[in-house]
């Protein structure tokens, strides 16, 4: 099964998990408390997130703390870069149009 980060963030529950553990590591049980779903389903989501290296585990006794591999998120940012250039240019163009209208009003 080929997993990538785009597939990982496609699911809304997974996006919520990512946000949840972005700032502090959490156990599967603690994560599951935040959703209307079973612990096992959260466990499955964590497996997918682990498979595409978006998440890292730290065992502590019988508990496992999951935290976000924040650097991995940059891959999405990197992909967005190609479009960022375009939408900034488009914004510049809109800016020009607006200032032209302003000038005409004078």
């Amino acid at each position: 099964m080929r997993r990538d980060i785009f597939q990982a963030i496609a699911d809304p529950t997974r996006r919520a998990i990512i946000t949840l553990i972005a700032l502090q590591a959490m156990t599967p049980n603690a994560i599951a408390d935040n959703f209307n779903t079973t612990r096992q389903s959260v466990s499955k989501h964590l497996r997918i997130l682990t498979e595409c290296e978006l998440v890292k585990q730290e065992q502590q006794g019988r508990e496992i703390y999951y935290s976000l591999e924040i650097q991995k998120m940059k891959e999405v940012d990197k992909w967005l870069n190609q479009f960022r250039k375009i939408w900034e240019t488009r914004f510049d163009q809109l800016d020009k149009v607006l200032s032209t209208i302003k000038k005409q009003k004078k």
Copy 2:
């Protein structure tokens, strides 16, 4: 069927289509020429992209030109913002560690 942009960009073919039409509008036939798939399957992808308003159509005779709604891409960027703050902070911390090591070497 609830569609959102994250589901739209989960598929690699759709991401390629998005990149392809980011700079210039194209017809479904022209788009399909770039992939090892049927025109109908590209048509399906375009329908999904249209449903979540990532793409706009412009009819020209019997041809339909599809182009990217670049502004919509900002939604992904917006979602990334919460993490950007974190990874920039982490980078600052790494920066501090590195400069500390530098000082110790002196």
